[in-house]
Symmetry: C2
Subunit: 489 residues, 2 copies
């Protein structure tokens, strides 16, 4: 038998989070809003296990992600790991169920993913992704759809200010190829350097594109080794500014070499601009920005991020892009895909900061308070009656000394329960109940210091009424439609 | 860089499941129904990470569960594991956040748990639990509430026949103590033997309670070593039958020794019966059964399971019980708790078998079908218009040769999309659309074999109408309220 009496210290793993009611309730609301938007665009839910074979995941996200995998063994001794995103499992599904998941196929998925990263504010080792992906459509019209969904989510969440930032992975490539730099390894190195722009600044980027530099800790960072002329072209390109998406396409076209590869990328950006207009996404909410790089290795086309101009400290709260080659890991033919992911933890942090995620710490609407020697069965019967009327109702049972009314009402206060229904032996005998409006009581008491006055004010909003009138009265307190209407709906 | 061209075989881990749309959609519906019931009883959602420190989990569920843990290491090299249930993490929370989670506290939690068990039909290594627990209330009134919630869930899911089976952990103990058997180890051994009743049958139980036996494979199973008289008393006790809960309490009372410990357990059963009546749970839907044992080690009082008389092969689809000592693993004082867990995977298997979980394989209501050289932007604009009217709408984009109308309509057919809106260049020029009722078309075609007739029938339910009438027409096809009403709601 296991040791029984040894105390275990209750603690949460580093980089993980316990979500208490005040965290979960706004999260559930946000998830419901987002799921409704996803479904509005025809995305259907899919779920995969948290655990995958190691070879499914290894190398799919690049070296950085490989190092961050939580690895373990199956009972059969196989190498397995916790998924680091929802995109690689989706690619696996497409290859595994070709007859069921016929393209074009749109799915959404909500779930935790794990990365053994350095934790920080809003940065967790177990975090929730909420993704949509569309498989089997090569046109950038679907990339525009991703951006449109991102904007629809922000609008539905009532964010006062938001902007999707969009770029195309191949723009740097064609620029570099125009300068004679064609090796994929070097092109990816350039991309990784530019991805650090916001973190290390333009001067450091310039050094890293050239000879390299020494960082603050004295460690050497090797450079890409580009010559000054190429670096200048690159930096001029990522600094391009324009008032509209169409204008930016024009600027990009002028800055790129006159090659057919460059013309093809510019044409895709033009189509993307047109599709965004058709979907009703204004320039204010989605702009083209040639400096956007994004970290993950598997993107092959348009990439996008959602940023909050009024809360830039949260970085991007959604991001995604086109990945036309990922399914080839598992299948002998490509399935072009594009997708985006909502970083739910970060988005919630931002909403909280902006005051858009305030909810009470409970779902309960009515607390049944029983005083004196009221039999438990009477409290249960009353609770059952309230639930049958549709109220989210809880009863209060504790040891005898904790059953004082004051204690029961502070329970309601602690969790923010708005209504208490109080029964004692007298009430039972007379067929009445006392109904107390706890939010009104609270509001009235906020600037009272005197003890007596406090008690008096606490009594406001309490009425003793016949039990037959209880339901209607509580409906009014909770600002719910009256029962006749509710029954009809 | 990771190898890029090497193909990885797409496969799912043993004992794990990929949930495709036809699995996820009924699951989401069932989860929503259950969550509404849980909230109706005042349970508030909480979430904890999938990973816990190993010492938090080890020994909490007994030896069997210890062996089944998926163990790994944190990036700091600490011993950690995937949770095997949602109850132990809840006990941890209660000890870790005493100021926030003041008892009585009711929470629900939905999430995956992991056990490296032998997989079987409906038995997975990663499976979903959907739990409620109430902390801080010692009265069996809350155990009755658990059973009441279980029944409310079954009723809301429209199960034609269901019955909660209820027992009390201490009944065997007082019976054994009456025969002079007081060692806890032996009492637990008896419990484990009786838990195998359904699996191995009464004769084998009788042997295991006595001298032991040899199983089919020739392995010896050591017995508890009780004498014949005690075994007879035990077997008579678990065979007790009664028409009502109150009658069963009477029978139990008569069969137990006249000790104060026995009287206390009988009194709890009597209170439980009274509370179930107060909560409106009829005898038909919850019966006392002295043969119920339940596997987990941590139960200390009433235990309960939900079974389906019309589908007994699924075993119990919910189960739970009182665990007054689990929080003491983490805290220097006890917090009495009771709770129950819905086995979502098993419940869904049962609902499927009973035909109560049928949904289409998509959320999409309308597919935009574009034919000929209609610009993509026109499809996007039409889709945006349909979404703005509230329809879950998807567009179809594929390579040119897959853009034939037949291919687009078979896409709708494959996923069960009910309505297609078709635009070609002519329709665009004339300001009309063709709206096709795909479900009607399908119904009409089921017993047609002739090719021409099939094609003709396929055209039924297709009308060409002015674009301004499109929304109203589709609302009618989908049997939705007209837009004026919808806007008002």
């Amino acid at each position: 038998m296991a040791p029984k009496k040894q105390r275990v210290e209750p603690r949460t793993l580093k980089g993980m989070q316990d979500l208490l009611p005040e965290d979960v309730l706004p999260r559930k609301r946000v998830v419901a809003v987002i799921a409704e938007i996803f479904e509005r665009y025809g995305y259907t839910p899919l779920e995969t296990p948290a655990l995958e074979y190691l070879d499914t995941l290894l190398g799919a996200g690049g070296e950085g992600v490989n190092k961050e995998l939580f690895r373990l063994e199956s009972p059969e001794g196989e190498a397995i790991a916790l998924r680091f995103d929802l995109t690689v499992p989706f690619a696996r599904l497409l290859a595994q169920y070709p007859d069921k998941l016929k393209p074009p196929f749109r799915r959404y998925a909500l779930g935790p993913v794990w990365r053994g990263d350095k934790p920080g504010p809003g940065r967790f080792r177990e975090f929730t992704q909420f993704d949509i992906d569309c498989a089997g459509a090569e046109t950038v019209a679907v990339d525009a759809e991703m951006v449109s969904v991102m904007c629809a989510v922000m609008q539905a969440l009532k964010l006062p200010s938001y902007c999707a930032v969009i770029n195309h992975r191949k723009l740097f490539d064609v620029l570099l190829e125009g300068c004679g730099i064609t090796e994929e390894v070097r092109q990816k190195h350039v991309l990784r350097v530019i991805d650090k722009l916001a973190k290390v600044g333009l001067d450091n980027i310039q050094l890293e594109l050239g000879p390299g530099r020494v960082d603050e800790s004295g460690d050497p960072i090797s450079g890409v080794g580009l010559n000054l002329n190429v670096i200048e072209q690159l930096l001029n390109f990522i600094a391009l500014k324009a008032a509209t998406r169409r204008e930016m396409v024009q600027r990009m076209s002028e800055a790129l070499p006159r090659t057919s590869a460059a013309a093809a990328v510019v044409e895709e950006m033009r189509e993307l601009a047109e599709a965004l207009e058709a979907l009703g996404v204004p320039d204010e909410h989605a702009r083209f920005d040639p400096s956007l790089a994004r970290g993950l290795d598997y993107y092959t086309g348009p990439v996008f991020e959602m940023v909050l101009p009024t809360a830039p400290e949260f970085g991007s709260v959604m991001g995604g892009g086109r990945y036309n080659q990922l399914v080839e890991r598992f299948l002998d033919r490509p399935i072009p895909c594009t997708g985006m992911s909502v970083g739910l933890d970060r988005l919630l942090s931002a909403l909280k900061k902006l005051g858009l995620a305030d909810t009470p710490a409970t779902v309960t609407q009515v607390l049944v308070v029983s005083i004196g020697n009221v039999p438990k069965a009477e409290s249960l019967r009353l609770a059952a009656e309230l639930r049958a009327a549709g109220f989210r109702t809880e009863t209060f049972f504790a040891s005898r000394k904790k059953m004082q009314m004051g204690n029961q009402l502070s329970h309601a206060d602690h969790y923010g329960i708005p209504v208490a229904v109080i029964i004692g032996e007298d009430e039972l005998a007379q067929g009445v109940v006392s109904v107390k409006d706890l939010l009104e009581g609270k509001a009235g008491r906020e600037d009272i210091s005197d003890r007596e006055a406090y008690r008096e004010a606490g009594k406001t909003g309490q009425v003793t009424i016949p039990r037959a009138e209880m339901i209607t009265h509580i409906r009014r307190l909770l600002a719910l439609p009256d029962s006749a209407q509710a029954a009809a709906s």
